[in-house]
Symmetry: C2
Subunit: 205 residues, 2 copies
């Protein structure tokens, strides 16, 4: 019998290095699927519908919201929606594949309400000083926005208690080894192995 796949939610404050960790995890583990989000923004050159995103209209997105078809969604400052379709997640897990969802804290908390059997991993920087350095180094934002994100990160750290696991992102490879161990251990949880007992007993003499 195929065991259901795991939904592995990788989350944490801005600057914790979610993107780097998920990219490396995918590189080392091509067998793990990555969640594809739905969005209302325009498709860009080089993007493929159903691979990079599911590109849908605002009307369709709002209908899906009403019908409860998102595990989580958000409307960003541009007015565009982004969301994680329940059906995609469910189908992937039922086929026995594990699925990574890289997501900010607000999104992860929404997912947790609807899908408690997910594995919720909180990535933390080795120190707030290091997190600040990373926010500056990535050079995406103005100094004001960096300061805003940095302050937000302090607040966000308090959500750690809503997660199952905490992994310090100091050395990328060490963090990956820990996430691998978490995935392997979760597959051994008694609550994820309902069918095993019957299999053993029915194979008896």
């Amino acid at each position: 019998m195929t065991q259901k796949g795991l939904l592995i939610v990788i989350s944490g404050p801005s600057g914790c290095g979610k993107g780097t960790i998920c990219k490396e995890l995918r590189r080392q583990h091509p067998e793990i699927k990555v969640s594809v989000s739905a969005t209302t923004r325009e498709i860009r050159s080089g993007e493929t519908d159903g691979k990079d995103y599911f590109f849908i209209s605002k009307e369709e997105f709002e209908r899906h919201i009403e019908e409860g078809e998102f595990l989580e969604y958000a409307r960003i400052y541009s007015g565009n929606y982004y969301g994680t379709p329940k059906k995609y997640v469910r189908d992937t897990l039922l086929s026995g594949n594990d699925l990574i969802l890289e997501i900010d804290i607000q999104g992860a908390l929404q997912v947790k309400e609807k899908f408690e059997e997910g594995v919720f991993i909180f990535l933390v920087p080795p120190s707030m000083e290091e997190l600040h350095r990373r926010l500056v180094q990535r050079g995406r934002e103005t100094p004001e926005l960096i300061m805003e994100r940095f302050k937000a990160a302090y607040e966000e750290m308090n959500f750690i208690n809503r997660y199952n696991y905490v992994v310090t992102n100091d050395k990328v490879d060490e963090a990956i080894r820990k996430i691998e161990a978490i995935i392997a251990a979760e597959k051994c949880r008694v609550i994820r192995n309902d069918a095993l007992l019957n299999e053993i007993l029915n194979g008896g003499v």
Copy 2:
């Protein structure tokens, strides 16, 4: 800050291979401590007090029972007592060392009542047929006793739901890899990392 060690309880029905797995785990991981039991039986030649067992008198054992100083204990058919001293376990874990406790199901359930933060691993055979073969092969018991143990093992399998993890003992090395993953993952549990958040926040800019 040193993280507290883990109490790793390895348990399962007779014939599941607890002994083999724990021996191999100790061989590959000499850093993991092994719980030393107290007993009232006579010391045998070649045994060392405090290493093989804590050899104590019946009176002392019964006083410790009254004072609640055992995580679990049992009196076997010979009339001798065997038990796991709380103090030894507590001291080992506080010093940051992990500790393996290889124990039958009745003992594991007693430990769980007193020490819920332990990591409870249920070892299962790949099939009941295989378990029967192992009971016969070890050649320790009469055919009647083997049949009794085999029947008991069927009943004992139902206690799986009281455990956190289930590991199939088919190939020893695969089982060891799974137990290693469980240990590494448990060290990442948010509930075991109270101090981490403070460390990160207090190291901030």
